[in-house]
Every structure is written in structure tokens, then in C-alpha cells.
Amino acid sequence: MRDRIVSWILDHLRAAVGGLGRLSYARVASAMTALVIGVSIALPSGFMLLLHNMESLTGDWRGSSRISLFLHMDVGEERAQDLATEIRSGFPVEGIELVSAEAALEEFRQLSDMDTALDLLDENPLPAMLVLRPAPGTGPEQLRRMVVELEAMSAVDQARLDLQWVQRLDAIMDLTRRGVWLVAAMLGISVVLVVGNTIRLAIENRREEIVIAKLIGATDAFIRRPFLYEGLWYGLAGGTLAVALVETGRALLATPAARLAALYGTESLLRGLGTGGIVAVLGAAAGLGLAGSWVAVGRHLAAIEPR
């Protein structure tokens, strides 16, 4: 049993190394194929990375969205404080700030240049206000429900949330995400076809060898194995190139992106693939390469029989 496992592992090693050897034998042709695969994988990987960066950025923006609660005129400062405590314990809120009627008037006075007009009024026409920052990660639907519940509170006259831009942004992100997946799917199919066609040619070139191996008693698995490894290596080589392309692109964009980030006062804009991302790209590339060679092997190997 142990001998069989050892010989099985050796068979795989031989096929893997043999496949790699044939790739390096026709170096230029293999490099071209790997580059085609690399570009096809780099494009969706780059888009997805960009999308990911945008998502974390807009996540920051959503965190800065505000709900303004205008309280009834007769609600005093003390009552407002109690209300703030109540809201803090009952809702997903990151921060809450009380703007008293006086403070609101003062702010209005500064911003509006209507000093004289305001002086004519007997009393302060502005209500006290609570400004709350929802906890980060609160979705638009949840925010809307929060607003309805807050508005139902007796001390609250009106609750206001500018939801529209959040919703629009979410819709745009949804559309982009779907578009990127669509592009990724199409390019994935093209990788399978490119590898499949390359392996088909490899099978055609080694037809005589396959026939002889079958005559001598090679199993289908034995004949299939080197071609499958060849596809796997193509995928991995393409994946490695894709990672290199994406990271190079990011390096080229890093300086202007950092400037933009500094201007907006946010943290770094372009985050890289990271270990998880690199593993995912390589895994997807290897999987596509293997799928391509399976297609070719399944279609063309059975047709070659000794005559």
C-alpha cells in the first residue's frame, strides 16, 4: 500500500515536472500564452481591487452620514439630554450631539448675516436639535427604519436623513459590481478557451507518443496527467503575471492617489491585493487553467486510439 502511494506521488511529480519542462522547452510560445492568460486575469482582478477600494472608501462616507432630529419647541435642554441618553442605548449610534436652541440661533446668526432681522424677534424661533451619527455599517434600509422610529418619539418634531445619495451610491456600486463580475466571467471563459486550445495543440503534437503509450498499456489517467499539469502551470504562470500586473498598476497610481487622499483627509486610497487576494487570484488562475486542459483532454484524448 505504501509503495503504491509512493509510486502514485512519483507519477504525479514526474507529470508535473514533465509538463513544466515542456513549457520551458517552447519558452517564447509558452510565455505568450501565459501573458494572454495574465492580462485576462489581471483585468478583472484590477477592477475588483478598485471596487474593493471604493467600497471601503464609501463605507467611510456612509459612516459620516447624519440624522438630524428637530425637537418640539417646548422641549428643554434637560429633556433633550435625557432623550440623547435614551437614543444612545436604544439605537446603533456612534455619536450624538445636542445643539441647543441658543447654539442653533448663534450658528444661524453667523452663517446668515441676518443679525438685525433676528434681533427684531422676541423669542428664538429655532428648536433644539440632536445630531446623531449612525454606527458604521448601518445599511440604508436600517437607517430608514431608524428615522421612522425616531420620528415616532414624542419629543421629536421631525427627523431628517438625506438618504438619497446613499441609495444612489449603493445602486452605482451594485451596478459596477455586477459589471465587473460579468467581465470577469467572460475573461474567465476566454482563459479556459486559450488553455484548452493550447493543450489541444500539445495533444496533437504528441499524438504518436500517446498512441505508443496506449499500446504499451498506459492508463487514461497516466496519459491525461501531464496535459492536466501543463494546463495548471499555464494557469499559475498567468496568475503570477496577473498579480505582477495589478501590483505594478497600483504602484504607478500610488502617488496621485496619495495626493487625492491627503486632500480629502482620508486614509490611503489604494490598498493592494494582500496575501488573501494574491492567493485568490492564483487559485482562480490555476483553476481556470486546469478547467481548460480538462476540456481539451476530455475532447481530444479519447479520440486517439492505436490503429
Binding site: 509512493v6 503509450a213 498499456g217
Partner: protein
């Protein structure tokens, strides 16, 4: 008359085997014969008489249209597609056109069956050299087959066929392209392998050579057996 051999002693057995190719050509018509364990048998007849077809049916390169073939007691009808490789590993095949891989060295060509059989890498060089030694090509292991003469190429083919020590050897016109002297040499090799117990079936139309070697000889004509001369019956 067929020689009456007891069951377990027979290696190859054809019972009423017919082979009809698409288009209606009958390559074999109800062929009956058997080859005993350790026998060397020649198969002769004009080209198109069905010699090659007989040799192709044994390793299941083709299946008969009707009839039954048993190899080492195994009914080939019972050997499914997936088990064909196991059958072929027990049969050494030698072809008129050698069928060597031109882009591999002599050593690699002979090593191929061992690799397919999963022989450990440690044992491969020793066994390849033993096989090359038997056919007298030990000093050519690094050569490319295309640089060898026809006779040498055929001997590489024989080394490849025997390297796994199969119990059965099948040779289709192994001396077809060789001059009489080389042909006799090749046949001598087959006799040597036969002497250590390998059942050997050789298709050949070189009647002069066959007569001289004094082995059993089956004659085919239009897919039917017309003659079965045992080794002693020719004086």
C-alpha cells in the same frame, strides 16, 4: 488437426473468431487455434490473409465481430475498456515500423513501459540496461533512434517489448524491412526469449526463414486457417 493441449497450459486461444470490417470485408472467418504456454508459433500467409488482424485482436486493439478469445485464461469479452491497459502490460508488442519515439533517446524509449508500469525510478536504469544488453545495444543507450540502422531500431523495439518481462510476445513482420542476415539475427533473439518461457507469436511471410527455424507454423488464407504444421512435422 489442432494439437490437444490441456486447458491451463494454453496461453492464447481463438474459438470461432470472425472479424468483419465496416464495408463487409471479412478479415477472419471462424478461426480456431490455440498457442500453448511457452510455445513459439509463426503465423504466415499472403498479405491480407488476416495475420495482422489476429495480432491486433489479442491486445484488444480491436474486438472480434464474433467468437471468443482467451489470453492466459482470461476471456477478452470480459475485459472492459478500463482494464485494457492491464492486459496490454502483459503483452510485448513488436511492429514492422518499430514505432519508437524519435525525439527520445534509446534509453528513454526502452524505459517507457517501466514508467507506465510504475517501476520505481531506482530499478529503471538497471532493467533498461539489462534489456539493451540482451539485444546487444548496451553502448547505444544515449543515441537517438533515428541515427540507428533498421536492424538496430528493431532491436530497440524488441528491448522495449521485453523490458517488463511479459509472458507473451507478439511480433508483426518484425523482419519485414531487413536483409536475410539481420532477419536471422532478430529471429534468434525471439528464440532466446522463447527459451526462457515467453509465449511468442510471430507474423511473417518470410517462409525460407520460417522453414529453417523449425517451429510450429499456422498458415492463414483469406481469414481462415489452412495449415497448422507442428515443429516436428516438416522433414
Amino acid at each position: 488437426m489442432l494439437p490437444a493441449l490441456p486447458g491451463p497450459r494454453e496461453m492464447i486461444r481463438f474459438q470461432g473468431v470472425s472479424k468483419r470490417y465496416p464495408g463487409g470485408h471479412d478479415a477472419l472467418r471462424r478461426l480456431d487455434f490455440q498457442v500453448g504456454r511457452g510455445e513459439l508459433v509463426f503465423l504466415t500467409g499472403h498479405s491480407g490473409a488476416g495475420k495482422s488482424t489476429v495480432l491486433r485482436l489479442i491486445p484488444l486493439l480491436e474486438r472480434p465481430t464474433s467468437g471468443r478469445i482467451t489470453v492466459a485464461g482470461v476471456d477478452l469479452d470480459r475485459v472492459g475498456r478500463r482494464r485494457i491497459p492491464v492486459l496490454r502490460r502483459r503483452i510485448g508488442m513488436i511492429f514492422q515500423d518499430h514505432r519508437l519515439l524519435p525525439d527520445r533517446s534509446v534509453f528513454d524509449n526502452v524505459a517507457l513501459p517501466l514508467v507506465i508500469n510504475g517501476v520505481s525510478a531506482r530499478d529503471i536504469p538497471r532493467r533498461v540496461r539489462a534489456a539493451l544488453d540482451k539485444v546487444g545495444l548496451l553502448n547505444r543507450e544515449r543515441a537517438s533512434p533515428v541515427t540507428l540502422s533498421g536492424g538496430e531500431q528493431q532491436r530497440v523495439g524488441i528491448a522495449r517489448a521485453v523490458v517488463t518481462r511479459p509472458p507473451i510476445l507478439l511480433a508483426d513482420e518484425p523482419t519485414g524491412n531487413l536483409d536475410p542476415e539481420l532477419s536471422a539475427e532478430i529471429m534468434g533473439l525471439f528464440q532466446q526469449f522463447n527459451q526462457v518461457g515467453v509465449t511468442t507469436l510471430i507474423a511473417s511471410h518470410d517462409l525460407t526463414l520460417i522453414r529453417r527455424l523449425r517451429h510450429r507454423c499456422l498458415t492463414l488464407e483469406q481469414g481462415a486457417l489452412t495449415d497448422d504444421l507442428s515443429s516436428g512435422s516438416r522433414a
